[in-house]
Symmetry: C2
């Protein structure tokens, strides 16, 4: 976009000089935007660099390579999910709705998180964040399972129905309930696991 200028002339504009200030954050946000617009294939590290106004190799310093950037995205996603679940509390229905809310509010993170082949799933930050979110998920699952026999399967059922609804919604497969709020649409569906 903007032509390169000598350092001295650039200093005046914010802190955008040789040191960007928070390039990592900026590139990460640009990636979310780009992927959200064009899908998981419609972006490149170089494009993100252009959006951020830095050289084509700058992002590599922070993320190494493309997989590294997606790894960071996944880790951030699990952290966001953990935060959302924590806020929802231990009730199953609330946890499930929070899960759906997270997925629809952060569709790019959600999409990356559950495609381990896209990133380095064995990364430390990812694993730790995943465990934090997993613990909170288990908590919500226990609420519906109680301590009855087969509680494992009930927990899996809870996770599956929330995850499935969110995935199908994001895929545009549930167009019939119209463009209403996904969380409202999810409520009566998730309830089916409780009532009968």
């Amino acid at each position: 976009m903007e032509r390169w200028r000598p350092r001295s002339l650039r200093k005046d504009v914010r802190t955008i000089g040789y040191h960007h200030g928070d390039l990592r954050r900026t590139v990460l946000d640009a990636a979310v935007d780009a992927i959200g617009e064009s899908g998981l294939d419609g972006w490149s590290l170089r494009e993100l660099a252009r959006r951020a106004g830095v050289s084509h190799a700058a992002p590599a310093h922070h993320f190494g390579d493309k997989a590294g950037l997606l790894t960071a995205l996944a880790a951030e996603g699990f952290d966001l999910l953990a935060a959302t679940l924590k806020q929802a509390g231990p009730d199953f229905l609330e946890a499930g709705l929070a899960y759906v809310r997270f997925a629809t509010e952060h569709p790019v993170h959600f999409g990356v998180m559950f495609q381990p082949k896209l990133y380095r799933a064995d990364d430390d930050a990812v694993q730790q964040a995943r465990e934090r979110a997993g613990a909170l998920l288990a908590q919500g699952a226990r609420a519906v399972a109680g301590s009855a026999a087969g509680s494992e399967n009930t927990a899996r059922a809870g996770w599956s129905i929330a995850h499935g609804f969110a995935s199908l919604w994001l895929a545009g497969a549930l167009t019939e309930p119209a463009g209403s709020d996904p969380v409202d649409a999810a409520r009566p569906v998730l309830r089916r696991l409780l009532e009968r």
Copy 2:
């Protein structure tokens, strides 16, 4: 791999001459293999061409571009899903298990199908195949929903739990039930939607 040879010398090996015979099928299969091995990013049209032993531009003739190939894959996937559901019959549990079986037996197709941004979802072949599969899905859903009020939501719950279980299994998120058969693992989970 193999050097180019005049037509006369190549004819002896199968029907691999200027006309491959069934390049479309071959490339499609190669794509499934490649994506299965390296994920949705780890393949290229040129690599598929090399695997098939044709020039780097040959696949483009059949699919146009990368998205065209994935479009063909998605259409094939919906057809395969329809066939699997048809075989399972109208019972909800059987349909759900068939859904899971399809996803785990054709993980690449499944993964592509529900990421519309990767391909041309408005393609005719895709839409028709999607509708065929959708009709059979609705049939299985009706089995659990009956004609009660809120049957729409019950149907969505059925689809969600099957889709969610399949997705999580493929993502490696359900490692705890060990490497057992995914369909066996799904049975008690799907049942939770029926019993209580």
